[in-house]
Structure formats: structure tokens, C-alpha cells
């Protein structure tokens, strides 16, 4: 049975051998491995891209989450940008707005494209929908961005994890930010090897991140963390494009993330039994949501208080 390349080093090696980009390499694998013609893959990816665009637009217009706990921050930040940030306009600011927007739509049970998960679905669109104008990316180049990010994400998922329940938030926003950084380097004209360094740098910056959401909702701190994923991805890409290298090889960084995830206590892996989710304010919010009927009893946090 044909399999995906085992690690990022193999991907870089094969790209250099044939003188092709990561997106071409991952696309060729997709065609062979899943027996799907190129045109079908591109069309499907185009559909995913348009879902991201719609979600960003919807979120910037302003949404409120299913629970009522969050929402409106993308709109707030967009207004701040229009008024003029005291620090001047930046790629980072625009990216943060779009990532908050997509993730607020997610919390509102709206339609999004998971990249790689729903909780981290704001990071990639936040970057792509921002840099595409600055880099004058064609539609096809934007689809290539998604393919490179997707291929990089597979290498993370197969060597570590992309599940918050398995590896904490480092596996979700960490992975999202890392795979986006790799794609961003390619879109900006960097080499496959630089993409590897960007992925490594971005992932290292978020290692150890716990998944401890308030009331177990994908809202606090998830939504704002997507904005940090954007900032981190762009920063890592800029460092890599400048020729800065990760001292730890990319695959070892990915495996370290997997290993940290396995050491993480269950309370910090999407169970709402520890960390931020068990702060006094989070417990008050949880009771409030219960009283308003947004989340019913018995909630595990409340149950552990009683005992």
C-alpha cells in the first residue's frame, strides 16, 4: 500500500531532488494516493477556500456564540483598525481580525472549514485572506497555499497529533500555526527547506499549550488564541525567509509536540477539568451558563466541586 511520506525531511529532500515546490509535491501525492484527478482536487480545494471567505465576512459583520459567552470581537477589532491603531496598520492586525471572525462563526455553530480542526479554524484563513492581496496571489496560488498547509498538517498529524483531547491546544492552534507558516513561506517565494524551518519555529513557540476551555465551550480562550496563531505564523515565516533556521530539526520538533501531548494530564486535554476552565471566574461563568440553560447539569466542573 502506498503511504504518505514519513516526515518533513523526506518531503524537502524529494522536492529538492525534482526541483519542485511543496505544493506540487503534495498535490502529486494526493493525485496518486487518493486516485483523484488534479482538476477534481483543485475544485474541491477552491470550495473550501470559498467557505473560509464566507465565514470571515460573516464574522466581521458580527456574530454571537451559541452560548452567548463570546462574539463581536472581530467587528470590534475591525473598527479599531478603521479608526487607526496607535501603532499604525499592519499585516498582523488584519490577520487577527479575520481569524477572530472565522473562529467566532465556529463558536456560533456556523459553517467553517476545519484547518486542521474547528477550534483552530481561524488561523489559516486569517493569514491567507490577509497576505493574498499583499502578495498578489492568483486563485491557483491560494489553492497551492491550502495544499502545502494540508500536506504539512498531515506530516504533523501522523508524527504527533492534531487533536486537543490527545495533545492539548499545541496540537490544534500549534499545528494550525505551524502548517500555515510553512505555506506562507512558499507563497512568499521561500524554499521547501525554509518552509520546514518556519513550521519548526512556529510549532516550538506554542509547545506545551494546554486545552482548558471555559465551560468546555470552544470559545474562551480558543478564539483569541487563533489570533495569536496568525501572529506567530507570520513571525515564524518572516524569520525563516530571512534565513533564520530552527536549531532543532522540524521532525524532531513535531515529535516533541507529540511527546509533550502524551505527558499532559487529562485535566488539560479538552476536559474542562483544569487550568483556565477551573478558575473562579470560569466556574462562575459555567454556573451562569447552567442557570440560563445554555449548558445543563450535571456539568463535570460542578460535580467535582460537590465532592
Amino acid at each position: 500500500m502506498k503511504l504518505y511520506p514519513k516526515n518533513f525531511a523526506t518531503a524537502i529532500h524529494n522536492c529538492n531532488l525534482s526541483g519542485i515546490s511543496l505544493s506540487r509535491y503534495f498535490l502529486d501525492i494526493e493525485i496518486v494516493l487518493n486516485e483523484t484527478p488534479e482538476a477534481v482536487i483543485l475544485k474541491k480545494m477552491e470550495k473550501n477556500l470559498s467557505v473560509m471567505e464566507k465565514a470571515a465576512a460573516k464574522g466581521i459583520a458580527g456574530v454571537t456564540s451559541f452560548s452567548g459567552l463570546t462574539g463581536g470581537d472581530a467587528k470590534r477589532l475591525a473598527a479599531f483598525r478603521t479608526k487607526g491603531s496607535p501603532f499604525g496598520d499592519s499585516l498582523y492586525l488584519e490577520g487577527m481580525i479575520k481569524s477572530l471572525a472565522v473562529n467566532e462563526v465556529n463558536a456560533a455553530m456556523g459553517v467553517i472549514c476545519a484547518t486542521p480542526t474547528a477550534g483552530s479554524s481561524g488561523v489559516l484563513p486569517g493569514v491567507l485572506l490577509t497576505i493574498r492581496d499583499r502578495l498578489h496571489l492568483s486563485r491557483r496560488a491560494q489553492i497551492n497555499f491550502l495544499i502545502t498547509a494540508g500536506g504539512s498538517g498531515i506530516l504533523i498529524a501522523n508524527q504527533a497529533s492534531i487533536s486537543g483531547a490527545e495533545g492539548g491546544c499545541q496540537a490544534e492552534v500549534g499545528s494550525a500555526s505551524a502548517m500555515t507558516a510553512a505555506a506562507l513561506v512558499e507563497a512568499a517565494g521561500g524554499t521547501p527547506s525554509q518552509s520546514g524551518h518556519a513550521l519548526a519555529i512556529a510549532l516550538k513557540n506554542l509547545l506545551g499549550l494546554s486545552c482548558d476551555p471555559v465551560a468546555s465551550l470552544v470559545e474562551v480562550p480558543c478564539i483569541k488564541r487563533n489570533a495569536i496563531g496568525v501572529v506567530n505564523a507570520i513571525a515564524a515565516a518572516e524569520m525563516a525567509l530571512a534565513g533564520i533556521e530552527s536549531r532543532i530539526p522540524v521532525d524532531e520538533v513535531i515529535q516533541a509536540m507529540g511527546s509533550i501531548g502524551r505527558m499532559m494530564p487529562m485535566a488539560l486535554r479538552e476536559t474542562a477539568l483544569g487550568g483556565l476552565a477551573q478558575t473562579p471566574t470560569a466556574c462562575r461563568m459555567t454556573s451562569m451558563l447552567q442557570e440560563e440553560g445554555h449548558i445543563p447539569w450535571p456539568f463535570p466542573a460542578a460535580r467535582s466541586d460537590e465532592r
Binding site: 455553530m109 476545519a114 491550502l146 498529524a157 483531547a165 490527545e166 463535570p300
Partner: protein, 244 residues
């Protein structure tokens, strides 16, 4: 651990929020259960373990499982109204949370009833909307959707495996993973076959003509795009064509 093989496992699925593992994965578990049952159940008992049990309300895991059992796809905006839908479409739902330790943090056990029939399935959501089925009707299985998978129920007897695999071989269909389980000698058995590429309908028809075979369930298409997911009761009983 699931082996991710397609960029669409990472860039996708297109889905309603808020969680790929707890919402989209749960929809797919519901859809898989419905496909295995072969019709819409009248009643389901759902038991949630681990993180599923702790956080299901906040993630809409219950809504998602019910939505899937009602044949809704991962991107259906009806999922948030799943309890109302269930009432309207005649599905009685019982949800339980168990503290029992399980291998995977996102595990659901679903027992389905219709008339005098009942079947059960246990599955885990392993991240990014991907799922693994680990038990069907007491049979330990390992269906991970990285390849098209077909389940064959049959009465345990000599030669059944050879008869099915010979037909596959005659049509040059390569088996990538195969598993046979039975409760006791001579009783109900389950053969799980994953193949490189989907088994064409004419080959499935030939296999179906083996008289001693029981229900055949094709799970090939569950992990595809939402608009390809089964919407009506028994669609998954047929092997469908590749989307290309």
C-alpha cells in the same frame, strides 16, 4: 493512531462548529451507525466516555451524534436543532455519560433499535473529524476509513472467506487490510475488508450472489465531502462509485 493520507483530512471537513473532533467527528459516528444499522433507528441509547462525556454539551456532541443518526451531513445547519428533528422524525434518544476508562478520550457507544432489531457500535473521534470504529455488535473491528471498507456478515462456515476474496482477486482488487471475527464456531461472523480503491458495483453484485452471505455494509464514502454523505436510510448498503 489514525494515518492521515489526504490533504482534505487537514483542510476540511467543511462543517458546522464548534469542534471537529466533538462535532464533525460525532456527526460521522452517527452517520456510520446509521449506515451499519441500514435504516433509521426508532430509538438509540448513546453512552459517552472520556472527553466526550465531560464536554459533550458545550461542543454539541449530542446534537452532532443525533444529526448523524438522522442522516445529516457535517455541514448541515440543522444540526443545532437535532433534538427537535429527532422528535419530528421519530427517533427516541437516550444519552448517558460513563466514567469508565476507555482507550481513546473521545469514545461513543451507540445501541440502535427498530422493531425487534437492535445493533450496537463503538467508535472514537481521533481528531480533525476523522473517526475509527472499534466495535460492531460485539465484534472487535478496526475500521479507520483510510481505505474503502466493506463489512460482510455471514454464518461462520468453511470457505466463506475464500469465496469473497476470490471474487476480489478475479477482478484485480487489492485487499489492504482484512479482519475476521466470530463469536463462537458456527455462529454469526464478521469479515471486514479494506481495499485499495472502491469495489465496483458489478463486483459487489457478484459477491452479493453468494447465497450464505448476510448483510453487506459499505462504509467507503463516509469520510468524503459532506454533499456525498448518505442522506437516506439505506444508501450505504450499496457500494457507491468514486467521486471522480
Amino acid at each position: 493512531m489514525a494515518v492521515f493520507q489526504s490533504v482534505f483530512d487537514i483542510i476540511g471537513p467543511v462543517m458546522v462548529g464548534p469542534s471537529s473532533s466533538h462535532t464533525a467527528g460525532a456527526v460521522r459516528i452517527g452517520l456510520a451507525a446509521r449506515s451499519i444499522f441500514g435504516e433509521q433507528p426508532e430509538e438509540v441509547d448513546i453512552t459517552l466516555y472520556g472527553s466526550f462525556g465531560h464536554t459533550y454539551r458545550g461542543h454539541g456532541t449530542d446534537l452532532a451524534l443525533i444529526g448523524g443518526l438522522l442522516g445529516r451531513a457535517t455541514d448541515s445547519d440543522e444540526i443545532r436543532y437535532a433534538y427537535d428533528l429527532a422528535e419530528k422524525e421519530g427517533l427516541k434518544v437516550n444519552i448517558k455519560v460513563s466514567d469508565r476508562n476507555v482507550d481513546h478520550p473521545n469514545t461513543a457507544h451507540i445501541v440502535m433499535f427498530a422493531g425487534d432489531r437492535s445493533m450496537n457500535m463503538t467508535a472514537c473521534s481521533v481528531g480533525g473529524g476523522m473517526i475509527n470504529i472499534i466495535r460492531i455488535d460485539g465484534f472487535r473491528v478496526r475500521v479507520s476509513f483510510d481505505n474503502p471498507t466493506v463489512l460482510f456478515f455471514y454464518r461462520d462456515r468453511t470457505g466463506m472467506i475464500a469465496r469473497v476474496t476470490r471474487i476480489l482477486a478475479d477482478h484485480s482488487i487489492n485487499v489492504s487490510r482484512m479482519q475476521v471475527a466470530r463469536k463462537e464456531s458456527g455462529t454469526q461472523a464478521l469479515m471486514t475488508i479494506a481495499t485499495d480503491g472502491i469495489i465496483p458495483e458489478r463486483v459487489m453484485a457478484e459477491i452479493r450472489s453468494i447465497s450464505e452471505l448476510g448483510p453487506i455494509i459499505s462504509l467507503s464514502e463516509l469520510m468524503r465531502e459532506p454533499d456525498q454523505a448518505p442522506v437516506n436510510g439505506s444508501t450505504a448498503q450499496e457500494s457507491r462509485r468514486p467521486q471522480s
